[in-house]
């Protein structure tokens, strides 16, 4: 077992984790993350527009008659999330190349706007807002990478306008990026205006299989497994897997929320919010169940101390203290339930959502909320989501309990046979 772990760490987890820090992947992930405050802010207005109250109540009537006004803050943030994300990607990628991040961010936004397809109506001009949303995320990713790569190429080949040193830096910067801006935007104009290529429908078709696959049961279980797999070696699983999966999750969330806003059926089961609220209860590995099991049957003083110190962070889904404290990392006994529990929880939640027992998630709230509250809000106020969370907590207790018992016995034995006051070194 130990040999296997060492082998996996050397040949899988470490190289894959390093790969996830590849510049473009990291820029995309950080770009998406930088837009989260706007997404969270906007999605709250979905709850206000569709309040979880009886349909004939005053509040429901008020909301129904003012729905388009209530949704304006949502339309200008979450609904057009890719506009924000594109800036974030361009900014972060330029920063990692040590280029001027502001130029990179702005150029990415401009390149993205060129892909939208301006429409004219009488004499007025319109941007189809839907293309600025989660739906257009893949186009946003591609064009912002393209934009920053051109910027980098121009800088490295010294193909920029040079000014004397006496010119103030801010003026210098704007001239410096003039040539790459012109190159990027002329190319975008040629593609989208001269040749009239609709990048959005083109990319939609290309990524359709991926978008479809990520929403199936295997598409849900694979990232769940990989995330706990990485954590088993003490590597932040969500940050590694998210580098690849986050764009797809964000597309689901964008599509789900805009479907709700326009009164249509919710199309996707598995945005990131699905994992956050139904699977990662107490943090990656659904470790709240472990902490509860520690309270229920823990006999060693180390387990008791751990239970007391980790329960509060666990309620808010922070579980590094459990993962590194127990530890779960490189601990063959606890790794088994750590990997199995979330797979069961995810399968159950997937089934419950697919069969319509629970509303699919479409609201993004901060991940540090306790799971029942987070799940209730993420489903737009579906009380059945709370039941699902409670069932999953119960399952996680049951799965963790026997494994924890074995480990706890070992700890107890060590405590009885050695007289060590420093419990921390004892457990390791």
């Amino acid at each position: 077992m130990e040999k296997l772990i060492a082998f996996l760490e050397k040949n899988f987890s470490t190289p894959m984790a390093k790969l996830s820090e590849q510049k473009h992947l990291r820029a995309i992930r950080d770009g998406v993350v930088s837009a989260l405050p706007f997404i969270i802010f906007g999605s709250i207005f979905l709850i206000i527009a569709f309040p979880p109250v009886p349909k004939d109540s005053m509040i429901a009537h008020w909301a129904a008659s003012h729905i388009s006004e209530i949704l304006i803050p949502y339309r200008l943030t979450m609904f057009i999330m890719t506009l924000y994300i594109t800036f974030g990607i361009g900014y972060n990628l330029s920063q990692s190349y040590k280029l001027d991040p502001l130029s990179g961010g702005l150029l990415s936004v401009a390149a993205f706007l060129f892909s939208i397809g301006v429409q004219t109506f009488n004499t007025a001009f319109f941007l189809p807002m839907a293309n600025l949303g989660g739906h257009g995320l893949f186009v946003g990713m591609i064009v912002s990478i393209f934009a920053v790569e051109v910027l980098r190429l121009c800088k490295h080949s010294n193909f920029t306008i040079k000014l004397p040193d006496s010119v103030p830096p801010s003026v210098f910067r704007s001239f410096e990026s003039l040539i790459p801006v012109a190159i990027v935007l002329i190319i975008m104009t040629i593609v989208t205006v001269v040749f009239g290529v609709n990048l959005h429908s083109l990319v939609d078709r290309a990524v359709a299989p991926l978008v479809k696959a990520g929403d199936t049961l295997p598409g849900v279980l694979i990232p769940v497994f990989l995330i706990t797999f990485f954590w088993s070696f003490g590597i932040h699983g969500v940050s590694v897997v998210g580098a690849v999966a986050r764009p797809v999750w964000e597309v689901y969330l964008g599509n789900n929320s805009s479907a709700v806003a326009s009164g249509q059926a919710i199309p996707h089961i598995a945005p990131e919010t699905f994992f956050q609220w139904f699977v990662w209860i107490g943090g990656s590995g659904a470790t709240l169940g472990l902490v509860i099991a520690m309270f229920l049957v823990g006999r060693s003083s180390y387990s008791k101390t751990m239970a007391r110190t980790t329960v509060v962070p666990s309620l808010f889904n922070i579980n590094e203290p459990v993962i590194f404290g127990m530890p779960i990392v490189l601990n063959p006994v606890l790794i088994i339930p750590f990997i199995v529990t979330p797979l069961i929880g995810a399968s159950l939640a997937y089934g419950a959502t697919a069969l319509g027992f629970v509303t699919a998630t479409y609201v993004q709230v901060p991940w540090t909320l306790p799971a029942p509250i987070g799940a209730y809000l993420a489903t737009g106020g579906d009380w059945r989501a709370i039941i699902l969370v409670l069932i999953n907590i119960a399952i996680s207790i049951v799965v963790y309990l026997p494994f924890f018992r074995i480990y706890d016995k070992k700890l107890l034995l060590q405590e009885q046979t050695t007289d060590v006051s420093d419990h921390n070194t004892l457990a390791l």
Binding site: T14, A17, K18, S20, E21, D30, V33, S34, Q95, W231, G234, I235, H236, V238, S239, V240, T305, M306, T309, T310, P313, I318, N319, E320, P321, I323, F324, G325, P327, V329, L330, T368, D422, H423, N424, T425, L428
Partner: protein
Amino acid sequence: MKILFVCSGGMSSAIVVNALKKEAAKEGLALEVKAVGTQEFAQEVKNGWDLAMVAPQVRHIFDTFLAQATEASVPCELIPPQAYNPLGGPTLLKVVKQGVQQ
């Protein structure tokens, strides 16, 4: 002593920071400790820290942090996994002391 911690979001290390502070207080050592997320690190490390400590779960980014810290002439250490929990204060303080001396 000014110590900068970095983890994924700056949250879990905040818990560990408390354990470190408690342990340092026992020895009457004055510590100024701050926890940041991976994205804030590059900027924050420039603000005159004595030591940068990298959480074990982001160790795959250690090389990047090390480069950023070196640029700001701040020594950079990896936190051993065993020390990264609420009871890890004593081990952690030992690592911090060693890291600052180097």
